[in-house]
């Protein structure tokens, strides 16, 4: 009995999201027909969702723990620029395509760890620390790139790897799938995930139970930074260039997807499945608008409406859940 209710709650909450996604698909089919409901288009939707998707997974961890990371978009930009400088490109030509990948991941990870150190050990509020990182990372990216786009040339193996389509699906979509699966596993099945939820639910109680909350916080922002690095790799593969404007406002899309997905902004409850659904809802929405040649301003309004409706729906489901469970 208790087993059932433990499963019912999340299922109900997910129900609203699935419903929203299905509705969008119905609208897409009704207005776009074949143009929407084709393998090609659906793969496009997923490819465009990959960057936000990967970054949102990292964001889910930070938000579940009661934090926030505003810097992910800027870090994506910085990582993309750093991984596409001429120096990196030469090194990649000499040693292999992985140099680009490692550079992007390292930049993301280090930026994340700096955030984490500031929040955990410097006791700077997460909002402030990551806002500062947002400004600094974007500025540094502009300096490095000199405000120019850095096209990646002569590193063909990089594109061979990342623009390939194993089983007919682009590698970058696979990356999203793998990151989401790993994130789900980490959050739901490991001690790391349990600590994350505990710290978000009651930091003082967690500390007094012997959880090293500072170190854990450091890791969490590290994860967010790392996923930003992965996001940068995906962007490089998709656009074949690094740019200091990559990832602009990405943090807001990520936060929106996470919160719409059902992760509590106050911490203590997180869901990767919800985040993935949130990401898919937003990217499907964009796609439907683009296919119908609708104005992007209207799209922004629709986005805003979806955020509000999704959160309202969730509260409604949460209230239902209270009635049906325990």
């Amino acid at each position: 009995m208790s087993q059932r209710s433990a499963l019912m709650g999340p299922a109900l909450r997910m129900g609203g999201l699935v419903l929203a996604l299905v509705l969008l698909v119905v609208v897409g089919v009704a207005t776009g027909g074949e143009r929407f409901w084709s393998t090609g288009n659906l793969i496009t939707v997923l490819s465009l969702a990959a960057v936000t998707g990967v970054v949102s997974i990292g964001m889910t961890f930070v938000i579940t723990s009661g934090g926030i990371d505003l810097s992910v978009g800027a870090v994506v930009g910085l990582a993309s620029v750093w991984a596409s400088t001429l120096a990196t490109q030469y090194a990649a030509q000499d040693y292999g395509w992985w140099v680009i990948v490692v550079t992007a991941l390292a930049v993301g990870l280090v930026a994340g760890l700096v955030n984490g150190a500031l929040v955990a050990y410097g006791k700077v509020p997460a909002f402030i620390a990551t806002l500062a990182m947002l400004a600094a990372a974007r500025g540094l990216a502009e300096i490095i790139a000199g405000r120019r786009t850095q096209v990646i040339r002569d590193v063909e193996p990089f594109f061979d790897v990342f623009q390939s389509r194993p089983l007919g699906v682009p590698t970058i979509v696979w990356i999203f799938v793998v990151v989401a699966a790993a994130g789900w596993f980490l959050l739901n099945r490991t001690t790391f995930g349990r600590r994350t939820v505990a710290v978000g639910g009651n930091p003082e109680a967690s500390r007094l139970a012997g959880i090293k909350i500072k170190r854990h916080t450091l890791y969490l922002y590290g994860i967010a930074g790392l996923t930003a690095g992965i996001g940068a790799v995906i962007l490089l593969a998709r656009t074949t260039a690094g740019s200091s404007t990559h990832g602009t406002l990405l943090e807001l899309d990520a936060i929106a997807a996470v919160v719409v997905g059902g992760t509590l902004l106050a911490g203590g409850r997180g869901t990767i499945t919800g985040t993935v659904l949130g990401v898919l809802i937003f990217s499907t929405l964009t796609n439907v608008f683009v296919l119908n040649n609708l104005d992007s301003s209207v799209q922004a309004i629709a986005k805003g409406a979806i955020i509000v409706v999704a959160v309202l729906l969730q509260q409604w489901f949460a209230a239902r859940e209270k009635v049906t469970s325990t």
Partner: protein, 520 residues
């Protein structure tokens, strides 16, 4: 507005008190309250007369807090009737309750940490002219209220977050008093107070009742109910099993039987005595925390229970927290099994120390997580294999403790938030039982725990000690410290003023020591 019509307040008090003898001020008839999947109240009757102290008695989870929450407008009863002065009323929200003259002090502290004392007291009925708060007046009134409560050291502009649990309790009490209520409901107000403050509280209660105000008083301390109460209503499993018993005519044993359905051994477990050669497990040397306590040295051997007695604010909780590493000592050392402890809480936990904190809600529990995850919060990493959680093992370990402690309801899946106060306390204790500590630091381990379970917890603590743990117990109830511990340390004003075997000192002597120190 219509149903929450305030009663005329001009009627002179004596006249009201006279009328009261025949007519109850408040009646509750057949109150039922259903939560999803749980029937917390299943037909409760209660009748309160003006000027009386009406005690509510019942085991943990019997429904006392739920009942008073329906009175305070925090919950809506599923069915049943509430009458005030014989008129049926609907108490739709807390504001309506206050308008009807019902003020409530909740069991769980409900003060806002970020606000000052005065702001907390006037929260929701701010003194204001045209939206601008009258701070000076609020501060003046607050000072008066606190004076009446005997706590001049709490100043109106102090931030509430900086107060101890007991200090916060005082603020809640002051807030209820600021309301000029006709009935004041107190849900386990004495649980966090030391004996001196309990005396203060009782004086206030008597002053209130002398003015014709009724007091509904919930407590698990039966001696207290004997001293203070006029009539008693006993709840069991959400039902009234005895209504309005006259305290003077009802023996304690009968009350316990009514509450628990059985006779409870109301005694402390035997002290087997600590072997002379038992190894010291915990050694604390010259520990100090700037401005709070200094020169605290104590050694606890395997199998020994040391009790810390002292007033609230004497530094006893802080001593535990500093040993535990939750506060950074300004000087001194802590050794466990001969090894010096360095670092914070995690080092202490790794060395086998466990702490049951004083404030279970803010310091202990993950309220929106299931009970088993609360119980395994310090051990889930240990049961895990290579970082992978073993929830099956966690549930099994939790279930075992839930049974051992008779936690009710006996489900490990429920969220901690839905447990009654006493059961939350048991869940917290269970955490360290699962952990299997070498050193157990217990801050008010029986706070809010009912008579039956209390005896069980005493037995359990003793058993842990017998199994070789070193235990330190802090309690506001001096008899508890003296009955449970092998050795007592009396703390006054941050200094140990006495140390000796528990059997060689009595309650009055401890009280004297405690007071003496506090005068100095």
């Amino acid at each position: 507005m219509v149903d929450a019509d305030p009663q005329p307040t001009e009627s002179p008090a004596p006249q009201r008190a006279e009328r009261t003898a025949q007519q109850p001020f408040l009646e509750m008839r057949g109150i039922v309250k259903e939560f999803p999947g749980a029937r917390a109240l299943d037909g409760v009757d209660l009748e309160v007369r003006p000027g009386e102290v009406h005690c509510l008695l019942g085991q943990n989870g019997a429904g006392k807090s739920t009942l008073i929450k329906t009175l305070a407008g925090a919950h809506q009863p599923t069915s049943g009737e509430i009458l005030i002065d014989g008129e049926p009323v609907t108490i739709s929200d807390p504001v309506a309750a206050l308008r009807l003259g019902i003020a409530t002090i909740y069991q769980e502290l409900d003060v806002v940490d970020g606000l000052t004392v005065a702001e907390n007291i006037y929260l929701g009925h701010e003194l204001a002219s045209g939206g601008v708060t009258r701070r000076a007046e609020a501060a003046r009134n607050t000072r008066k209220l606190l004076e009446r409560l005997g706590h001049t050291e709490i100043t109106p502009h102090r931030e509430v977050g900086s107060l101890s649990a007991a200090g916060k309790q005082i603020v809640s009490l002051a807030r209820a008093l600021s309301r000029d209520a006709r009935v004041v409901i107190m849900d386990e107000p004495s649980a966090v107070l030391d004996s001196e403050e309990v005396g203060n509280l009782h004086r206030i209660v008597r002053e209130l009742t002398a003015d014709g105000v009724a007091v509904v008083y919930i407590s698990h301390r039966l001696e207290e109910i004997r001293q203070l109460g006029d009539r008693i209503t006993v709840l069991k499993d959400g039902r009234t099993v005895a209504e309005s018993l006259v305290v003077a005519d009802t023996p304690t044993d009968d009350l316990i039987k009514l509450m628990t359905g059985r006779a409870v051994e109301y005694a402390f477990p035997d002290r087997p005595g600590v072997a002379e050669d038992a190894a010291p497990v915990l050694e604390v040397e010259d520990l100090a925390l700037g401005g709070v306590f200094s020169d605290v040295s104590l050694t606890v051997r395997a199998g020994e229970i040391v009790g810390l007695a002292g007033l609230v604010g004497s530094g006893r909780s802080e001593i535990l927290e500093t040993i535990y590493g939750a506060r950074r000592a300004t000087s001194g050392t802590v050794r466990v099994g001969g090894k010096r402890l360095r670092g914070g809480v995690d080092a202490a936990v790794a060395a086998g120390i466990g702490l049951c904190p004083e404030e279970r809600k803010s310091q202990g529990l993950l309220l929106d997580e299931p009970v088993y995850r609360n119980i395994t919060l310090s051990t889930f990493a240990r049961t895990a294999r290579a970082g992978l959680l073993d929830e099956k093992a966690e549930r099994a370990a939790a279930r075992e403790q839930v049974e051992a402690l008779d936690l009710r309801p006996a489900s490990v899946e429920r969220h901690a938030r839905t447990l009654s106060g006493g059961n939350q306390q048991k869940a917290l204790l269970a955490r360290w039982l699962v952990h299997g500590c070498r050193v157990l630091l217990l801050d008010e381990p029986t706070r809010g725990v009912d008579v039956g379970a209390r005896a069980e917890i005493y037995t359990l603590i003793r058993r842990l000690a017998d199994d070789g743990a070193a235990v330190i117990v802090v309690s506001s109830e001096i008899p508890e410290v003296l009955g449970l511990a092998d050795r007592v340390l009396v703390i006054s004003d941050g200094k140990a003023v006495h140390e000796g075997p528990a059997g060689e000192i009595d309650e009055h002597a401890v009280l004297d020591l405690v007071m003496e120190g506090s005068v100095a």
